[in-house]
Symmetry: C2
Subunit: 357 residues, 2 copies
Amino acid sequence: MSVPVAGPVLVAGSGLLGTSVGLALRRAGVEVQLDDVDASVLAAAVARGAGLPRKESSPDPTLVVIAVPPGAAGQAMADACRFANATVTDVTSVKALPMEQARAAGADPQRLVGGHPLAGRELSGPGAARLDLFDDRVWVICPGDGADPARVDAVVDLVVTCGGVPLRMSPLEHDRAVALTSHAPQVMASLLAARLLDADPEAVAVSGQALKDMTRIAQSDPILWQAILRANAGSVAEVLTALADDLSEVIEDLRAGEAAGATAGALTRGVAGRQRVPGKHGSAADAYDVVAVVVADRPGQLASLFVAAGDLDVNLEDVRIDHVLGKPSGLIELSVRPDVSARLCDGLRQRGFDVRN
Amino acid sequence: MSVPVAGPVLVAGSGLLGTSVGLALRRAGVEVQLDDVDASVLAAAVARGAGLPRKESSPDPTLVVIAVPPGAAGQAMADACRFANATVTDVTSVKALPMEQARAAGADPQRLVGGHPLAGRELSGPGAARLDLFDDRVWVICPGDGADPARVDAVVDLVVTCGGVPLRMSPLEHDRAVALTSHAPQVMASLLAARLLDADPEAVAVSGQALKDMTRIAQSDPILWQAILRANAGSVAEVLTALADDLSEVIEDLRAGEAAGATAGALTRGVAGRQRVPGKHGSAADAYDVVAVVVADRPGQLASLFVAAGDLDVNLEDVRIDHVLGKPSGLIELSVRPDVSARLCDGLRQRGFDVRN
């Protein structure tokens, strides 16, 4: 059974994640000490109520949360071991390399328990921090080799106190997992989008929602992603090599003409693999019915549609808006549980909506 | 200047696309003859009002629209040339191979003008047809070698009469375009999703919206996609080979350790390439601000949010719902024009919404 983490907790780094950790701990009444190399960032985090600046005279922390950029995390974890009794964790999105760097820089392996909350935002800095950023989000906990079980429990307490859902993995398991589910997809999205650069305008005009979906994350910050991919280069290369092998089999199969071998296999296995992507509330992907409705592209039009769905007591699991070329209207796709889709279609039609099912 | 297409038009194949073509032409008052190998499908299309069954005694059509499965389209186009004066077009999503098959089967090259309306649905059959399925959608027109310009004009008239936006390309240009924007992305989505099959459950749990986006189309029908990829195997293999080359450069770069070469290049080029993906109303991708709001996962909650946006006179350009693990609440991301995002945030907060920006 998890209990509120025992403070004081030092949060080193007062950006989005560090300040959010501070806010979440303060919400639970835990004493928080804050630090940042940038005095104005630190002041902003303090002003948000995330904690008080750590001073020489402050009591030693029982737990240190390193929330600095990935490249600096290893050294910061080692430095944090100057507090003789403190458990040391971090919030870096890659685990093996920073923890290895921490050990190489003299960190105490018994006190080192890495962490990675799966809660990002497009925004950054203490101003974007939220006290509920981690609520109900998976927060991976990666004990290093030789970590003291009591220290692991302390980090579990931290995660639960911050509202997160602890998920324990080894650093390498974590890095392989994010290579598969996040880092390799990022590379593929970027490569697909990069291929559009040399295409004729007419060719790019012949595209739809699929291309939008497949290139959305190609908009991500290249500097940040270069750092992430560098820090997890080994595991990402491993996943990409497996993908490259699969891809070359498909190419060979297509050149042979029938698409019945590796191509058909990839399509079939893809359907099965997609079933494993977590859906709503972390459950396996649900199969929803899609109800398509055309509405005018004006303020209030979506609202009237959603009010109607609410009146019909239908919960919308997902919504997608597909704007159509050159006209002030949009195709709205509402995902709903299969047992309510007929009721939604009928009810919307009765209310005059242009349902396309 | 385009005019309503001169009938009678024979639509051969009364599935979703054929019946929708019939409905769209009937809307414009054009005489439509229908045909299908399956008498019950034909009867359903007639019952929908898409036209009347073609009989031996019917007048010869001036235009034939082939709307049969890809594998049968070539022969059907050749067969349609039995009507001595008819222009022959189709709605197949691949162009070069069916048109080549049509010529090989004796079709008159002067009368052959391929077509591909970019308007699909998850559903199929005449029951799912809509008279406005093609409204404002790109409809690619591919004149074959030696096509009579007057025949091309007739197909432009057909497209405009059906509500579509004609876009002229050669069959090969078309096939290369869809290989790039649709078929290669489909293969990559399937390969990424297939890689999840062998992953540990914990590894798959460490995933977010990016993986969902990147594998959504992996849910597509494998049988249909095998047929599409087979029909466009050459162009798809070409795009995939270029991707494979790019991918192997990234793998090599990652193995070298710095991610500063091909990896950084792919990320940067990906951002630029993504800018070319058509956005709302076929314009270049717009840059929207994202406003994040947490709402309870119950009927009516989304509605109240959208009513508030409407009250604030803010048009929502896109909506995404990110359900969070284990809790009955969802994170709603509203995309809006940057000049109205501050007004939306303030207004929603004043109305008690949990805005996360």
